[in-house]
């Protein structure tokens, strides 16, 4: 069963198109990442899914219902906004106990969720006295109060230190595994998402350019990725790009990632060694492997642009 279905969703702000004919599905028990650069339309999409923004076109259904002003959906959904704000002058535990009463759950749940996000020591603090990271943790605790079946989180790990990020990702995995909680996680921190997501939707310029199970996407887009570690990646990149069978090259500080026509992997090994010799670069390693989510993302975007141009 699909918990979220968005069909041909559109939203514009004046002349700026934020979301354009967006289609998205999130299945029960799935952890789906909504990935894309800043300004891609992730937050607008999430706001439409949460019933905070009315779409200009298309349809969105959450648990099969229209999310706009729909309390039934709220009692099954946990929400973590990109910037979390709560009534500032109330104490953390007191406020969460109030939220427990709102959802009709035992007040002891408030302490449970505070401890789950390592805020057990901050029960007496006013919300306004929390640091940005603590506030983010508090927002996550707030979203967990009523044991929702679906959690929608926009940049959930923003403001968290690496240890807290890691702890939170573990919490996502545990909730998904043990309580079958589905997640829609929006982020542009791709390595993090790749640790927890089983599906992704790649969004850019307000459209979903590729979506599905991560394994399927890797198969579709990332065949023949070869990673070359070198001390001079930026010099090697243009040389490799000249090779006729090379489809794409991306470089970073530690090397280059090359996509080649299927069956040409061995040719690349030989040619890379020759080119490295020519420019006096050291080759530290060559390996064929699965692309990172970042590479997958770049490939999917590029392919989608090519397809669009072809049409």
């Amino acid at each position: 069963m699909s918990l979220i279905v968005a069909e041909n969703l559109g939203k514009h702000y004046g002349s700026v198109v934020a979301v354009d004919s967006l289609n998205l599905k999130l299945d029960e028990g799935s952890v789906t990442g909504l990935i894309g650069p800043n300004g891609a339309g992730k937050t607008t999409t999430i706001k439409m899914i949460l019933g905070l923004l009315k779409p200009d076109s298309g349809v969105v259904r959450v648990f099969g219902q229209d999310p706009w002003d729909n309390p039934d959906i709220r009692s099954m959904t946990g929400i973590v906004y990109e910037k979390a704000f709560f009534p500032a002058h109330q104490k953390t535990l007191e406020y969460l106990e109030r939220v427990c009463r709102i959802y009709g759950v035992s007040e002891s749940r408030a302490m449970e969720v505070l401890e789950a996000v390592d805020l057990g020591e901050a029960t007496d603090r006013e919300i306004r006295a929390l640091s940005a990271g603590m506030l983010q943790k508090f927002a996550i605790a707030h979203a967990l109060i009523h044991k929702p079946k679906l959690i929608v989180a926009d940049e959930m790990t923003a403001n968290l230190d690496p240890q807290a990020r890691s702890g939170l990702l573990d919490l996502v995995l545990d909730l998904n595994k043990d309580e079958k909680v589905a997640f829609l996680l929006s982020s542009h921190i791709l390595p993090e998402l790749s640790m927890v997501c089983d599906s992704v939707a790649i969004i850019n310029q307000g459209r979903v350019w590729a979506s599905g199970k991560l394994t399927d996407l890797y198969e579709k887009y990332a065949v023949g990725i070869i990673r070359v570690s070198t001390d001079r990646p930026y010099e090697l990149e243009p040389e490799v790009k000249k090779l006729k069978y090379v489809k794409n090259v991306d470089s970073d500080i530690r090397g280059i990632s090359v996509t080649v026509v299927e069956g040409k992997e061995d040719d690349l090994y030989e040619d890379v060694l020759k080119l490295a010799k020519k420019i006096k670069a050291k080759i530290l390693g060559i390996e064929t492997g699965r692309a990172s989510l970042q590479e997958l993302y770049m490939l999917a975007i590029r392919q989608a642009i090519k397809e669009k141009e072809r049409k």
Partner: protein
């Protein structure tokens, strides 16, 4: 799960924020000071004028005078600074994550922002009446209620306008400034209206003003303003007419609040 409890919890949360220390204490003090100071001031005056009804109207109007300004400031703070800031910062988004209809959230905010302020205002005013002038409260109860209704209509009208502005702007500080500019502008307009009415001898401007602020209609009925003799005014409404203006003004206020509800429930994008 009943729907009453989530609503009451959101209301309690809103009251907690709107009347946190020292706002409740300061405004309660100002209400008390204003009410009792005005009562002392008027105590000697009302015995010298007109009928029992006129006395009740004059005393009530005098008692209300200063406190209504405090009421207006408190309501403006709660709507523009309170609701506006919550819209701006995203606290309303948090409320929208609870299993409540949008209209229930707005009702909670308005009950806290306006309802509690009104209770505070009326509570102190009624206490003042019983302490300072018990002999005129019960015999002239109808006149007193009508005077309160007439005087409260205008601040509620301004509050409704401010609510609409706040929902549209979704900003706290700007809403507050715009609200006070609006109040001052309306005061100037009402002064000009009086001038126009007395110089042209046309009641139309006064009637329009009375629809927004029906205390004018009641004042003209009970003998005019202190600085403008009744005889120079081109319009002296009957009590029934004045009452109809009070009712009409509340119809306008209700329509504006309904507009706010419709916008909040159906159109407000966050």
């Amino acid at each position: 799960m009943g729907k009453g409890k989530p609503f009451l919890e959101v209301l309690a949360s809103a009251i907690h924020e709107d009347f946190r220390f020292p706002f409740l204490e300061i405004f309660a003090f100002l209400y008390t000071l204003g009410t009792f100071a005005m009562a002392n001031f008027t105590a000697g005056v009302y015995s010298q004028i007109g009928t029992n009804e006129t006395v009740a109207f004059t005393v009530t109007s005098s008692l209300i005078g200063f406190s209504i300004l405090i009421f207006l400031i408190l309501v403006f703070k709660n709507i523009a600074y309170g609701l506006g800031s919550e819209l701006e910062k995203g606290i309303i988004q948090t409320y929208f994550s609870y299993p409540l209809k949008r209209r229930a959230i707005l009702t909670a905010k308005l009950l806290s922002g306006i309802g509690v302020s009104l209770l505070l205002f009326l509570g102190i005013q009624i206490s003042a009446f019983y302490i300072m002038a018990p002999d005129i409260v019960l015999p002239q109860f109808g006149t007193i209620v009508l005077t309160y209704a007439a005087n409260l209509s205008y601040p509620l009208f301004l509050s409704a306008i401010l609510l609409l502005l706040t929902l549209k702007l979704q900003r706290g500080g700007i809403g507050l400034v715009v609200g006070f500019v609006l109040y001052i502008a309306m005061s100037i307009v009402s002064g000009l209206a009086l001038l126009v009415a007395t110089s042209t001898k046309s009641p139309l401007v006064l009637q329009i003003m009375s629809l927004i602020s029906p205390s004018y209609a009641l004042q003209y009925h009970y003998g005019g303003l202190a600085n403008v003799p009744t005889l120079s005014l081109p319009w002296t409404p009957t009590l029934t007419e004045a009452t109809l203006y009070v009712v009409g003004s509340y119809v306008i206020v209700a329509a504006l609040f309904i507009l706010g509800y419709v916008y909040f429930s159906r159109r407000l994008n966050l």
